[in-house]
């Protein structure tokens, strides 16, 4: 089958690679408009306070200032947001979206007022002139404290002001207590994982204006075009009067999944009737946009003496920060992934999320899964160490295989390659040579971790995607898709699929993407769903047109449709390629006949009902992608510093439709998750200490390890041509493999990230006492 592909599976350069290499690609910050004003947000000085009054008179009086807005100027300042989803899901999965703070300030840096002025400096000056009278509150900064009776209540808004509990969710499978009573060994540990900033190179920004038809129009890079609906609602406008002509993002990683500048820009443009630009500074971006959820995860595992896990009991406490945002969704990922990618007969998971006065938590590549993966993969090695088994052995003994059910009782339809990829990753590392004890005076260790993560949305969201195609009379093709491109090649792969099916070169398919008014809505670039959802939508759509073309070509070739194929810009007989007619001639003939040369098709994911959160059962996602990472580290026992020397990663990607893009996701995800081990936001009582890239240190080219990428292509995914999604699953199982490798090197396992040299050195010294 694969030999038949002309384009699928090749490392094709993406359609936008040339513009990006030349510096021609325009991003949100690259637009300037005549008469443009600059927007700024005044942000809270305190993480917890009551706003008693706001006086904007001095700011408004400053010459050159055109608008100063506070909560009372927003038509609907508080809205219960569906976060871009089309289905009414209900209570726990929708969240309060507040445009500007009123009542209680819930985190430091929350926006209180907006200013539009003729220069950026004037806008900043106007912000300084706004007088806010705060009554500072004690706040609460620890999710466990926040859940105690009598805790400081974070919210003053209806429905949230009774307690700080956001959601609780539970899994009960089998009988864990019986399994613990009968166990040969029991391992109990607590793990803690920190917040993570997305640290995209492009901060949040964009421009907005009111167009000549009165439509509020913006150019803002976002992962969720569908936010235009929420923006319309808070502005009191119909949804067809708010438009985002969006632009590619300079990175997203989940940080542009919630609304960032869009509403602020639209409010200011509407108030001033002038174009307005707003771009967040790096400091602003680090302080105010949402982070990965910090979590406390408590594990109790039971096993037989030959290493079969009989029970896994997990308690999870998640820090949601000042606003709920996507916490309920993220919690589904942490809860269901808590037991790990293993076949365990008895499972109990109890998870709780809380509002605190920390920066809000929301989507970050890995979305609750990588937290649970970190903890469960350390727990596996703790168990292996107790039983005297190797990390590979314990995993092979327990990992999920085809036909096994996950903790909710669901049996994945897609292929489960955990056994194969765990072996390939570990053997790949061993093949680099025997492990030396020391290199350059540093102790060497090797570690392994495996994982699973879903691709595609939570199935109870009832996800769908649409793609539009038009064949032009010269045989070129216009693809229209509201597919936000954050750098993963989300749009380009759709062109590749269409070109493959029509037998034309990829450069003959031109994509128009990301315009809420003009492109069919593809849904969000989140949840590793675009290749799966929009790839399938492109396939559904192109097949309708292909059928029309083949039918006409068969007529022209005096053959049956099943005897005709499209290849090399021709329609030809499968058994006699010399008998052919040019693609463009078939298109012309169809046009003469009045046959439609356009189509918009839709793909729907499997739909389920919302699970009972007290006893979650059944399908929660369409399918999973499985990962394995074998890692070699070098630890300096004198300083506690460590480096990641080598990573051998192995994934079953189903089918690598664009080889370069697929490898690029796996390599990029590897280094992103490597950063999880060391990156440090430095939160202290709601204050972010890491306010620049000098303090928030992400891996550089020198820090990144030597990476060997092994892709298994089982064809067992639910995406086009059997592909699985890789974007977020790529950000899984590296961090625990690193921490497990450090244990192999120096015999200490830090159960709390970030792993700083100070912490590691202290642990080494304590062990050597």
């Amino acid at each position: 089958m694969s030999a038949m592909f002309k384009l699928v599976g090749k490392p094709a350069p993406r359609h936008d690679a040339w513009a990006k290499a030349k510096g021609d690609q325009l991003y949100s910050d690259d637009f300037t408009m005549p008469g443009m004003l600059y927007g700024k947000a005044l942000r809270s000085k305190y993480p917890a306070a009551i706003i008693k009054s706001i006086d904007t008179s001095k700011a408004k009086a400053l010459p050159g200032v055109h608008a100063v807005l506070t909560a009372k100027d927003v038509p609907m300042n508080v809205e219960i947001s569906k976060f871009g989803q089309m289905k009414d899901v209900g209570g726990g999965f929708e969240g309060l979206y507040k445009v500007l703070a009123d009542g209680k300030v819930r985190f430091k840096g929350e926006a209180i007022a907006l200013v539009a002025a003729e220069t950026e400096e004037l806008a900043e000056e106007a912000c300084r002139l706004i007088e806010v009278d705060y009554e500072v509150q004690p706040g609460v900064f620890d999710p466990e404290e926040a859940l105690k009776p009598g805790a400081y209540i974070v919210s003053s808004d209806e429905g949230e002001n009774e307690s700080n509990l956001i959601m609780e969710s539970h899994i009960n499978k089998g009988d864990v207590e019986k399994a613990f009573a009968e166990a040969d060994v029991i391992v109990e540990n607590e793990y803690r994982v920190p917040p993570v900033d997305h640290a995209y190179l492009e901060t949040e920004g964009g421009v907005a204006w009111v167009d000549d038809n009165g439509v509020i129009t913006m150019r803002v890079g976002t992962q969720v075009l569908e936010h235009y609906r929420t923006i319309a609602k808070v502005m009191g406008l119909p949804q067809n009067k708010v438009r985002n002509m969006s632009v590619p993002m300079g990175g997203g990683f989940g940080g542009k999944e919630d609304i960032t500048v869009e509403t602020f820009l639209c409010l200011l443009a509407n108030a001033t009737k002038r174009p307005v630009k707003m771009v967040w500074s790096r400091e602003e971006s680090l302080e105010v946009h949402s982070k990965r959820h910090p979590e406390i995860l408590r594990y109790k595992t039971a096993a037989t003496k030959d290493g079969k896990i009989t029970a896994q009991k997990v308690e999870i406490i998640m820090d949601g920060g000042g606003y709920k945002l996507l916490t309920g969704w993220v919690q589904m990922y942490s809860t269901v992934n808590a037991p790990g990618c293993y076949n365990i007969p008895n499972v109990k998971v109890d998870s709780y999320s809380a509002l605190t006065n920390n920066t809000p938590s929301s989507a970050n590549r890995g979305f609750g899964c990588c937290q649970a993966n970190f903890a469960s993969e350390l727990q596996m090695d703790e168990l292996a160490a107790k039983l005297g088994m190797s990390p590979l052995e314990i995993r092979l003994k327990n990992c999920l295989r085809n036909g096994d059910e996950i903790c909710t009782g669901f049996i994945p339809q897609g292929h489960i390659a955990l056994e194969e990829i765990a072996k390939k990753a570990w053997e790949g590392l061993e093949a680099t040579g025997p492990k030396p004890d020391y290199v350059d005076g540093k102790k060497i260790g090797r570690g392994l971790a495996i994982g699973m993560m879903s691709y595609g949305r939570l199935t109870f969201m009832h996800d769908s995607s649409r793609v539009g195609l038009r064949i032009e009379l010269d045989g070129s093709v216009t693809l229209r898709a509201g597919v936000p491109d954050l750098g993963g090649g989300q749009a380009s792969v759709l062109c590749q699929i269409v070109a493959e099916e029509l037998g034309i070169p990829m450069e003959k398919v031109h994509p128009y993407i990301m315009d809420t008014h003009l492109t069919p809505l593809c849904g969000t670039t989140t949840a590793t769903r675009q290749l799966y959802m929009s790839g399938n939508a492109a396939l559904v759509t192109v097949k309708v047109l292909k059928e029309r073309i083949i039918k006409k070509a068969a007529e022209m070739l005096d053959a049956k449709p099943e005897e005709v194929q499209l290849i090399n810009e021709k329609a030809c007989l499968i058994n006699n390629p010399l008998k052919s007619v040019p693609f463009v001639q078939v298109v012309g003939a169809l046009s003469n006949d009045g046959v439609e040369l356009f189509h918009e098709g839709q793909f729907n994911a499997p739909f389920t009902d919302v699970p009972n959160l007290h006893d979650m059962k059944g399908r929660i996602w369409p399918d999973f992608t499985y990962s394995a990472h074998a890692v070699e580290v070098a630890v300096d026992e004198e300083t506690g510093k460590f480096e990641v020397r080598k990573v051998v990663l192995c994934y079953d990607v189903g089918k690598a439709i664009n080889k370069n893009s697929c490898e690029g996701q796996l390599e990029g995800g590897c280094v992103y998750n490597q950063g999880y081990v060391t990156e440090n936001m430095g939160w202290e009582n709601g204050i972010t200490k890491a306010r620049s890239f000098a303090e928030y240190l992400i891996p550089t080219a020198v820090d990144a390890p030597e990476i060997e990428t092994i892709m298994v292509e089982s064809g067992g995914g639910l995406g086009p041509y059997g592909a699985k999604g890789v974007g977020e699953p790529a950000d899984n199982s590296i961090a625990p493999a690193i921490v497990n490798a450090i244990y192999d090197a120096v015999g200490v396992r830090l159960k709390e990230m970030p792993v700083t040299p100070e912490k590691l050195l202290k642990a080494i010294q304590e062990k050597n006492k």
């Binding site: 901060t203 890239f693 080219a701």
Partner: protein
């Protein structure tokens, strides 16, 4: 502050412009000359996205005052292609899948150019060191290093023709 007239030589062309004396080069390139290929990401010299060449050396345009750039030859990403032909580094970035979101790409390519102009035969470790001031959050740097190594080969072959 009053505006000041300066002349900047950018991509082989002289521009007479009027600027605030405290403007950094990155802003002048982007706002006065409309050369938005140079990106600004951190404004404190930590990320390398704003890297340009000044008299052949890699230079952080977000930390350089535009007035300091007078009399120097400045090359930005827009000036790298010659007669419509992409520079070998640009071609290698395209063909090796070294570009994802593309926001670090201009700065990354300019740093690579500065390296290869000085050291046409770098080892992968030397490439990593030369690019260590250019942050990328998408790629894991693997394909970027591959692209620079391939470009070095390509440039040598070009010279031997």
């Amino acid at each position: 502050m009053g505006e000041q007239r300066i002349t900047l030589n950018v991509n082989g062309r002289d521009y007479d412009i009027s600027i605030e004396p405290d403007m950094v080069l990155a802003d002048v390139l982007r706002e006065k000359l409309d050369l938005t290929g140079t990106k600004v990401s951190c404004r404190e010299g930590e990320c390398g996205a704003c890297t340009i060449l000044m008299d052949g050396k890699a230079c952080l345009s977000c930390l350089t005052l535009a007035v300091q750039a007078q009399g120097k030859k400045i090359v930005t990403i827009e000036g790298l292609a010659e007669k419509g032909q992409l520079h070998p580094i640009q071609k290698a970035f395209i063909n090796h899948g070294a570009i994802q979101c593309g926001y670090c790409t201009p700065g990354m390519i300019m740093s690579a150019k500065a390296l290869l102009d000085e050291n046409p035969n770098p080892t992968p470790d030397e490439v990593k060191t030369a690019l260590s001031g250019n942050l990328c959050r998408c790629t894991g740097y693997v394909k970027i290093v591959d692209a620079v190594m391939a470009a070095a080969d390509d440039m040598k072959r070009g010279e031997n023709k």
